[in-house]
């Protein structure tokens, strides 16, 4: 597809379970971002991948959160032992980053509900 694709679009999980959220960025985009958005709130930065550089993980809220980006393309955000406060919309974005100032293209997000 032409845009950033995220799956699943909705996920309901029981407290304590692990979840994996997937992001397919736009082909050729070197930068990939994960954000979290709670109801009525702004975007909370989680992690940033840029090419082959070490990812910036400074926004991950706890060691239960981790992310990988395989082959410089698809990314997976994993939340272990989910808690109710993890309920939010998780947004992925990619950017060509061929220059310093390029726009980010967002997916539709994964709505995570922990019950």
């Amino acid at each position: 597809g032409a845009g950033v694709s995220q799956s699943p679009s909705n996920k309901v999980t029981e407290k304590g379970k692990d979840v994996e959220l997937r992001c397919d960025p736009i082909s050729g985009h070197t930068a990939l971002y994960w954000y979290r958005q709670s109801l009525g709130q702004g975007l909370e930065f989680l992690i940033y991948f840029q090419g082959n550089s070490a990812p910036d993980k400074s926004g991950l809220p706890s060691d239960r959160f981790s992310a990988e980006r395989t082959g410089g393309s698809v990314s997976t955000l994993t939340i272990q032992r989910t808690q109710q406060e993890d309920s939010a919309v998780y947004l992925c974005a990619s950017s060509p980053r061929q220059t310093m100032n390029t726009e980010a293209f967002f997916g539709q997000g994964t709505r995570l509900t922990v019950v």
Binding site: A31, G42, L43, E103
Partner: protein, 112 residues
């Protein structure tokens, strides 16, 4: 600490009027600043980018200003329409490495 602040209160205006949204930041020196639009249930969509050496940028009914001395950007929508109703987010590159940080957004409601 480093902050990006947007008016958290919703902005309600009448159709045809100009909407002005504010984005203030502290303790950053960004090379550029971006504005995005977000509709309910959707991801943000890019609108405009303005560089530090640009005072003003226009795109159709949109205008953005960037005052690096005041550490402020203003986002204007002229001749507003009900279809402009959405949440508008500003974003900047915290460390000029491509890492985008967003403000909390301001919700605009344009009444017919």
């Amino acid at each position: 600490s480093q902050k990006i602040e947007q008016n958290s209160e919703a902005l309600n205006i009448q159709e045809g009027k100009t909407a002005t949204l504010t984005c203030n930041y502290t303790n950053y020196s960004p090379a550029y600043l971006q504005w995005y639009r977000q509709d309910p249930g959707r991801g943000p969509v890019f609108l405009l980018l303005i560089r530090e050496n640009e005072k003003e940028k226009r795109k159709e009914r949109l205008k953005v200003t960037f005052d690096t001395t005041l550490k402020q950007s203003l986002f204007h929508i002229t001749a507003s329409q009900p279809a402009d109703s959405a949440t508008y987010l500003c974003a900047l590159d915290k460390s000029n490495t491509g890492k985008l940080i967003f403000g909390q957004g301001t919700t605009l409601q344009v009444k017919p």
